[in-house]
Symmetry: C2
Subunit: 374 residues, 2 copies
């Protein structure tokens, strides 16, 4: 028997105790990238600083006017839409914080071998497009519909399965208006950049990144639950390999801190001067609005409430928080945790799953305060 | 004795044989990023796909109008220039390919522990700004001047030395017009993004990235050679720790291939169908124009010339090359190498140095051709 396409894949695995990152993980880290945490200062992430994760190659679309988005399956009136025709619908703009479902994976023990995120796979943008529910209403969804499947133009092999990237949403989410799912053609007021799905992508506020199908070229309504690779094999919460597992869906609450002071190049250790330091950052949750943020400056021993800014009408975007800290000479570990309206918060000890999904372990930022005690 | 700021740094070191990447290297890989190689298709790299390397934090400059660039030292008329005043000079736009001096470092054995690039730390942009020689002429350089030092606003610790990022250029390079060094305020026709030096940066065509000082706030003319950390300690070609070493300067020739076909998610192995495959990519050199590109489809055993496009008037930008390959079923390794007008080319066995600088080992792209023999 010759080698087959499926054989280019290696099985999913966990890193051995103490095993450093391999070149496969590095190849993903070098092409995908996180938000440099100092960019948490911006309400809306400037272009190029928003996290990016692409499973396969970024499709090359030199002529976006030739793109077409088809809407079919269990609908009465299939649609074929160009980006120009989508721009003729009333535009909706929503500010949304997106986070990769694998954020935090590289901090797990044992480490699932995949895209090795620390805590930085996040970003916030203003997405402009057409509400998906309007397109589905125009197409006329049949009464037996249950799932809606979204297909991107990105193509590859994954764990032996050759595929276009595909994800499904329950019909109720696809046709709902809270959150309103968008077929987006603009990011921060400009056409989508190639790495964010040019010319069209899905934006599902409150859901992890795997739902936000980029380079969107087809929407198919199904009368049966969608069981594609990214739905049934990948993006499941499992502790054992054979389990069906729970699907990854909404973003768990998380708060991040802008590391204060300045860094060491290699260790990324932080240095601050003694005295007043304003700690600040962002907090978000896909389950319910963030209701409180707490800060610890003693490695999680004690916590105190931070000041939390209102959401300024942006329910699906991160909220700014701040807290004043009086730094004394010596070593400190700063942490922050978010609480949301569903009663969820962030753990200080990590629950673990084989895929490394939906982690929201509290961030730890070691800081050295230089100088003499005052 | 208490801990000092310098103690947050760890000494420079080489990875042990077989040692995987550590979390320090991952922290750099997660925030800095390379060019996804499929983006070699673009003449000018779209925003967000150009490689980025920042030693410390990206400075936060909410009000760029308040920025000032000072020009001083051994000059008769010190200058203090705002971005608005720089825009009043006649604008020059140059298309320049930039590459990090550490590109390829993570492929070395032993591996220098630092920013772990594979081959992707490159990008090409249209930089618009004011020729540095005009500013130095206006300031009136004193006859005893030898070096010009550029200071960025990025601040940190590195190998125990707290510093603003600083690099020097010999006076002849700073005041020359081939290449013309720019004080740039725009990238691809838009204001510089934060991660590329907003609001002002240096662009030195043909030199590695360490010379391209971002967040530029001061230019000082010296009557003695500049001996700052990034000039005399970092960015030197050394085989032994104690050596003075040779400075890293011009970009060595390199060609890269757009990996053909489609990838496996985790291994990044490539799959192509049997038959005609157009191999294409880019080639550049800082020493002299690229004169030829060769392609190998048998892991470097034989080489044949690729078609090399003219530079279309962009001496300092990469040039497109292409070559048709008839893929037969089985496993192949594709490589490409550039030759330049100075007689330099790319090695197939890696010369090594402790910093992992100025590598230009030929790229190897393993490809599996699926299907039956024809």
């Amino acid at each position: 028997m010759g080698r087959r396409t499926a054989d280019v894949s290696t099985p999913a695995r966990l890193a051995a105790p103490g095993e450093g990152l391999g070149q496969d993980e590095l190849a993903l880290a070098a092409r995908n990238h996180g938000l440099p945490l100092e960019a948490l200062r911006y309400d809306v992430t400037p272009p190029g600083l928003h996290y990016v994760l692409t499973h396969y190659d970024i499709p090359y679309v030199p002529d976006t006017t030739a793109w077409s988005l088809t809407v079919g399956g269990r609908v009465r009136r299939p649609l074929n839409l160009s980006p120009a025709r989508l721009r003729a619908y009333p535009a909706v703009t929503t500010r949304v914080t997106l986070e990769c479902a694998g954020n935090g994976r590289a901090l797990l023990t044992p480490r699932p071998v995949s895209q090795p995120w620390l805590v930085e796979a996040v970003g916030t943008a203003e997405w402009t497009g057409v509400p998906l529910r309007l397109l589905l209403r125009e197409a006329g969804v049949e009464p037996d519909a249950v799932d809606v499947v979204f297909t991107g133009a990105d193509h590859g092999v994954e764990r032996g399965v050759e595929q276009d990237y595909q994800r499904g949403l329950p019909l109720g989410v696809a046709t709902g208006d809270d959150p309103g799912v968008l077929v987006a053609y603009a990011m921060n007021g400009a056409p989508l950049p190639p790495q964010h799905g040019s010319p069209l992508r899905l934006v599902v506020p409150g859901w992890y990144g795997m739902a936000q199908v980029k380079w969107l070229r087809d929407i198919t309504v199904l009368a049966t639950p969608f069981t594609g690779f990214q739905q049934s094999v990948a993006y499941r919460i499992r502790r054992e390999p054979g389990e069906a597992g729970e699907p990854v869906t909404l973003v768990a609450p998380r708060a991040l801190l802008i590391p204060p002071g300045f860094p060491d190049f290699m260790s990324r250790s932080r240095v601050v001067a003694p005295g007043t330091v304003t700690l600040e950052g962002r907090a978000w949750s896909g389950h319910a609005p963030v209701t409180a943020v707490e800060v610890s400056t003693d490695d999680g021993t004690t916590w105190r409430p931070a000041d939390l800014e209102p959401d300024h009408g942006h329910r699906w975007a991160w909220r700014r928080w701040s807290s004043v800290w009086t730094a004394a000479p010596g070593d400190h570990v700063l942490s922050v945790r978010a609480h949301d309206g569903s009663g969820r918060t962030q753990p200080t000890e990590q629950p673990w799953n084989r895929g490394g999904f939906a982690n929201n372990l509290v961030q730890r930022v070691p800081v050295f305060c230089a100088g003499r005690a005052q």
